[in-house]
Symmetry: C2
Subunit: 233 residues, 2 copies
């Protein structure tokens, strides 16, 4: 390997990966310490640290303070998914994006939604149902609750004109969230909005996003039949 610069941790990572894949360093085996690797590779110890950290985050190494670093016995592969604003996903495919609000109403959510959002008894909610289309065909039906107590500006927003998906990304940056992926049979409402038969298998993304301790929104997105979410390992 060439002498290191600030970006060469990727080169260290590639060499460590090669040794793991070639089983030069076998599953469960200790690897040399950072200082020894830095000397071998002729780079800064911080560069080795960055590379090992990255491989540890990817589940390929197990690092223990003081005990050193081992090749993982049971590697957990991690996949990274992009969660884009739907308009950019649709337009990125070269399709014409469309948006229609089918219901906008201020009312109380079902208890399971309120509880998942850890919302207080006095909190107000906006319920927005909408359909987003690609070249005129339904792409996703969205059933969303927005906590107006957390995001009061949402009460003054025209969700006939802009999707809550896009508005929230622009106006209510979140600190963290939970996301889950599942399959459901389309019920009558989902089938009607996606223009497909009841019972069709639908890919659903459910998400709650938070601004610190306050939930911003709870959303279920029901994708058109055949939707596939893809990524690299």
């Amino acid at each position: 390997m060439a002498k290191s610069d600030v970006n060469s941790w990727q080169a260290v990572q590639a060499e460590v990966l090669r040794r793991i894949h070639a089983r030069i360093w076998a599953p469960g085996e200790m690897i040399p310490n950072e200082q020894a690797l830095a000397e071998e590779f002729g780079c800064a110890r911080a560069t080795v640290n960055r590379a090992l950290q990255s491989l540890s985050e990817a589940g390929l190494l197990e690092r223990r303070r003081k005990a050193g670093t081992r090749v993982a016995l049971h590697p957990v592969r991690k996949a990274t998914l992009d969660i884009p604003v739907l308009r950019y996903e649709i337009e990125g495919q070269g399709a014409v994006y469309g948006y229609t609000a089918v219901q906008i109403a201020e009312h109380a959510p079902p208890e399971e939604v309120r509880s998942a959002m850890q919302a207080g008894a006095g909190h107000r909610f906006l319920h927005v149902k909408s359909v987003q289309t690609a070249d005129g065909a339904p792409f996703v039906f969205e059933d969303r609750w927005i906590n107006l107590t957390t995001v009061p500006e949402a009460a003054k927003t025209d969700f006939e004109a802009i999707s809550a998906n896009e508005w929230l990304v622009r106006h209510a940056r979140f600190t963290h969230g939970q996301i889950s992926f599942a399959a459901v049979n389309a019920d009558a409402e989902v089938a009607a909005h996606l223009a497909l038969r009841q019972g069709a298998a639908i890919f659903v993304i459910s998400r709650i996003t938070w601004d610190g301790g306050q939930a911003i929104t709870h959303v279920q997105q029901f994708f058109h039949e055949g939707y596939r979410m893809q990524t690299e390992l």
Copy 2:
């Protein structure tokens, strides 16, 4: 912030995130350069670089060589998924793991599978269908093709005794792969193996893994009804 050490890029990242969320640095706006931030935070420029790199990978910043760093206008949120060996996922839930091979046969795959695996005409394939159970209940039905030309040791392996999922992780480390997630209605075979009604909405993970230019395996995993894959944002 305290004076930096090799691990304090996380502290820099937290402060940059805070400024983005508080809109001190608004979407689309240039942020100060690395040297200026390093001086402000009293840390090494490499530490700032590491923090900005991480936020850029997460889609919150846009970095251009020479042009500098902006807050992303259209942040793409990234979610990281763990893809564990199923046995560890099941046992990790405190359930008893079970495995049954329902078909093990060497024969040619359908053209779409061969083509997706970029396999040569002379390549040999093992077709393994199996069911993995949690506390006796079907958890996943797996339909897998293994390229024996790439992984010849698989021909001598007893897949009645160990799942291909687990054996491959131990014996055929891969360099990269493609993974996708979708929903399908259970056909007669899937319904029978998962002990559910035909037409039930099933979450499917499809995966092809590679060792460099050679495909190792092509697998579809059909999960039990109601399966939910979850992660944090």
